[in-house]
């Protein structure tokens, strides 16, 4: 039974257990939906308290980020995430966790080369490619706007 790599890969794959997709998706839907509803509740609460809408738009994600950071620090976030999968990853909670978890984790290497340098080791690409996409859209928008199309 001397398998070449390609045959072996197929063979090994046939042994690998599949992810429980249905359960995973149900959990992701549930937790993701709940997080968004909490955000919506906070949004409406801030409006109700008389905060100007421009600020509410900023303060709502900021509040969610702060909550996710707290849960990460307490060591609860990864337990929820294990159950929720993409449900905690996709909302801004996933971004916050990706920043806060390396910050806590790299404390031992110091606040400059540890916390400071490693904070964006997972979330950095999100900002880099999001910003680059926005620059490209900005340039296109400039020409569309000046051309009177938008």
């Amino acid at each position: 039974m001397n398998l070449d790599p390609k045959t072996y890969e197929k063979y090994a794959k046939s042994h690998a257990k599949k992810s429980p997709v249905l359960k995973d998706c149900a959990c992701a839907f549930l937790v993701g939906g709940v997080i968004c509803c909490i955000a919506e509740g906070i949004y409406r609460l801030y409006l109700h308290l008389g905060m100007p809408e421009v600020n509410v738009r900023i303060m709502t994600p900021v509040t969610i980020v702060a909550l996710a950071a707290l849960l990460t620090g307490l060591g609860w976030f990864d337990k929820i995430a294990k159950f929720a999968g993409a449900g905690t990853l996709v909302p801004i909670t996933g971004f916050a966790n990706a920043v806060v978890s390396p910050a806590i984790d790299t404390k031992a290497e110091g606040f400059v080369l540890g916390v400071g340098a490693k904070m964006f080791i997972i979330a950095g690409p999100v900002i880099v490619y999001g910003t680059i996409a926005s620059v490209i859209w900005g340039v296109i928008y400039y020409f569309l706007h000046n051309g009177g199309i938008l």
Binding site: G33, G130, V135
Partner: protein
């Protein structure tokens, strides 16, 4: 009351829906979670540019703005406003201005968390 319920149901369905799409990508493809986050933000910028995301925000509020596509939406909206106000320079400043709150909050929270918390073992 009924209106409020429908509003929140929309928030739940759209927000949860974004998560389900990502979960399917994780389970069925080799795309890593980090790549999914990057794709979501870029997709948010593109969807906003082609005019699909704004109606979704109007429909589902935080259900559309909380997922990372909403981060892309904020980047795109920021850059549009800045370009209108300051011309081409705005393409360089608008994106991060539009998302400054979230990014700065994450940075600050990360720093405070590093000061306050210690790593815990997993069980």
């Amino acid at each position: 009351m009924k209106e409020l319920l429908i509003d929140f149901l929309l928030v739940f369905a759209v927000g949860g829906g974004f998560c389900v799409i990502a979960q399917l990508l994780i389970d069925f493809t080799k795309i890593t979670p980090a790549r999914i986050l990057v794709s979501y933000v870029v997709a948010g910028v593109i969807l906003t540019a082609v005019g699909i995301y704004e109606p979704l925000i109007k429909l589902a509020g935080c259900g559309a703005s909380t997922p990372l596509t909403g981060f892309g939406y904020a980047l795109a909206r920021g850059v549009e406003g800045a370009v209108r106000d300051r011309g081409l320079v705005g393409a360089l400043t608008g994106g991060l201005t539009g998302t400054a709150g979230g990014i700065t909050a994450a940075m600050t929270c990360g720093f405070i968390a590093a000061l306050v918390f210690h790593g815990k073992p997993k069980t």
